[in-house]
């Protein structure tokens, strides 16, 4: 895959305003993601994380501001150009969004059929590899309705990585997963960054994930309709003076502190 090394930032989000019709969901969202980093979009439910993601992948035109990939404006580009930019995205949706009428293998194969010159046998081999990487070896012929929610999440990730994308977008990967599966998923995300150099954008509010995977993050707030923090989550927890930020990042420490290990520090309350 070709890409200019000249611009250090793979993704730039500049003063983005998101709205459904007249209703503004978020405004003045801005951040940059360098190539090969994991960027986490945090926030309580309903604050507009998925909406921001939809604007970044071309499903919702922002009401203002712009998104740049390798310095090229995404929404400023014409539709054909935008489509070719989208080709380098891998997307895993909040609901999984596996195509229900197709088996897992067919789900992973479709992008390959669409955009590679591989023959049927090669495609089947790659599909099976991608499924195996996500711990789904042997499930090629299953339909999405026949596997569990956690497996669907992983199958969606297999499909998202089918074309070895440059950027992986991930909406709430660990929502609804048990702690062990969710930990495995975090390892996998780190591995995709380290071994394949992918730039990864993850939407989540799971603290365990946030502290494990994030190189950088923003925190969206539903009340003020804008981002209220920007930085590496552990730095934010120590350095932020905004009580909302500290509260978001230390929430759950009371009960779940043990699970997080040494970080379960003095924020506990009666």
């Amino acid at each position: 895959m070709t890409s200019s090394a000249s611009s250090p930032n793979h993704i730039v989000v500049r003063d983005l305003t998101l709205a459904y019709g007249e209703t503004v969901i978020q405004r003045d969202v801005r951040f940059e993601v360098p190539r090969g980093r994991i960027f986490v979009i945090m926030g309580g439910s309903g604050c507009g994380k998925s909406t921001l993601l939809r604007a970044m992948i071309g499903l919702l035109e922002p009401a203002g501001g712009e998104v740049l990939y390798d310095g090229t404006s995404f929404w400023g580009a014409d539709p054909a150009e935008r489509e070719s930019m989208t080709r380098h995205f891998g997307i895993s949706y909040q609901s999984g969004a596996l195509w229900s009428s197709m088996t897992l293998a067919e789900n992973v194969s479709l992008p390959l059929e669409e955009y590679t010159a591989l023959d049927g046998d090669e495609i089947a081999r790659i599909a099976s590899l991608k499924l195996a990487l996500m711990g789904l070896a042997g499930f090629e012929e299953y339909y999405p309705a026949e596997i569990s929610g956690g497996m669907r999440k992983r199958a969606a990730l297999a499909r998202a990585t089918a074309l070895d994308p440059e950027i992986l977008f991930f909406d709430e990967p660990s929502a609804g997963l048990d702690p062990i599966s969710s930990e495995r998923l975090d390892e996998l995300i780190l591995e995709l960054r380290d071994s394949m150099g992918m730039t990864i954008v993850v939407v989540t509010h799971e603290l365990a994930s946030i502290f494990t995977i994030a190189d950088d993050s923003i925190l969206l707030d539903a009340q003020s309709k804008t981002m209220i923090a920007r930085g590496k989550p552990s730095d934010l927890l120590e350095g932020s003076s905004d009580p909302r930020v500290v509260e978001f990042l230390s929430r759950g420490r009371k009960g779940g502190g043990a699970e997080l290990g040494p970080r379960g520090d003095g924020t506990a309350e009666g």
Binding site: I57, L59, T86, S95, A97, W99, L110, E114
Partner: protein, 371 residues
């Protein structure tokens, strides 16, 4: 429950007895009146010493009173409430209401409703026209071999719209044939023209009722199914996933469904025609004593190829319309289970309306062309 004013102007609300939701929530209105009449109390306090039992009814009461007091600048001292109730009320107040979270309650005046209805009608019509345009473009792409249609899907839809629909189509068309023959025979017998019953059944089925009945069955069966399938795919973000992959959902999901119905509805119609005529023959021979041979030759003498073709042409057009109504409603579905149900209903209604409009169109056209 009673209230009293203490010397320092505090309004003390005495809570008594057992509070339960089943017994109802006592109104806070008397107390609200009390704090609204000057001079207002400096503070509201509670005395729960005589309170035996409480549940959410107490919380709702205290919250209403608290809101009213807050709006009038009267302080509330919750310390007299049971500790558990105090904590729950704090919890309910912990996340303040978002300024614009509450939906504006709409005034539903008849004229406004009419206007809304008209607007949404035009919106739907506009959307439908755009959708048909996209389908047409997709069809052109298919002709030049650039559309992404999965053959296997197409055959599945063909099977679903064909073989699987046979039982219900058989039942309905047989009954329609029976009814036509019965009504026809009763009237024609009075003129001694009983054998013309065969004409009524044959022409009625082949030219109009065969195609229309098959179409109405398929609008309820397959059109609704298409809307539900595509609506669910919208909810599951499956359609988004196709779009971001650069695959047109029209090529991939809509076109095979439309093609399946264009192919299958004429075939079903042909089948319905014959089953209907069979129903007519059964009544004609068994109930009215016509000879089977006589009935057959009368039918053969009246039907022409033109009759069949005009019926099949109508059927093909119904196929397109039903599939378009189903797919259009499915793809414009909202993102919830209720929205999918609504889309399904709308698909059936729209399908039937389009069938009626198309029938009127073809009838006039055939009349002008003398077919």
């Amino acid at each position: 429950m009673s209230t009293s004013r203490s010397d320092d102007g505090t309004l003390v609300v005495r809570l008594e007895g057992s509070w339960s939701v089943e017994a109802g929530i006592p109104s806070a209105d008397p107390m609200i009146r009390e704090i609204s009449t000057p001079p207002p109390p400096a503070c509201i306090a509670f005395d729960a010493s005589a309170l035996e039992d409480w549940d959410s009814s107490l919380l709702a009461f205290a919250r209403q009173l608290g809101d009213a007091a807050g709006a009038r600048g009267v302080k509330v001292d919750p310390s007299g409430l049971p500790a558990g109730a105090r904590r729950l009320i704090n919890l309910a107040a912990a996340v303040p209401e978002r300024a614009d979270a509450r939906k504006k309650t709409r005034r539903d005046r008849p004229l406004a409703r009419l206007g809304d209805g008209a607007l949404s009608f035009f919106e739907t019509t506009g959307g439908l026209v755009r959708f048909i345009g996209m389908v047409f473009l997709s069809f052109l792409r298919l002709l030049v071999g650039r559309a992404r249609v999965r053959g296997r899907d197409f055959w599945l839809f063909v099977q679903d719209a064909g073989a699987d629909a046979l039982p219900i189509v058989s039942l309905i068309s047989f009954l329609i044939g029976v009814i036509l023959a019965f009504i026809g025979a009763l009237q024609l017998r009075q003129f001694g023209a009983l054998v013309w019953t065969a004409n009524i059944v044959a022409i009625g089925m082949v030219r109009y009722l065969g195609p229309m009945m098959a179409a109405i069955i398929m609008a309820g069966r397959t059109g609704a199914a298409y809307a539900a399938q595509l609506g669910t795919m919208t909810v599951n973000e499956e359609i988004d996933a196709l779009r971001t992959l650069g695959i047109s959902p029209i090529d991939f999901l809509v076109l095979p469904r439309i093609l399946a119905l264009i192919l299958m509805l004429p075939l079903l119609t042909l089948y319905a025609d014959f089953v209907g005529m069979l129903g007519g023959a059964v009544i004609g021979t068994l109930a009215f004593g016509l000879g089977a041979q006589e009935y057959m030759s009368q039918t053969q003498s009246i039907l022409t190829m033109k009759d069949f073709l005009s019926g099949l042409n109508m059927a093909a057009s119904y196929g397109v319309l039903i599939a378009i109504a189903g797919c259009f409603q499915g793809m414009s579905s909202g993102r919830s289970a209720a929205a999918v149900g609504e889309a399904t209903t709308k698909a059936v209604v729209m399908g039937i309306v389009l069938i009626v409009l198309a029938t009127a169109f073809w009838t006039v056209l055939y009349d002008i062309l003398g077919i």
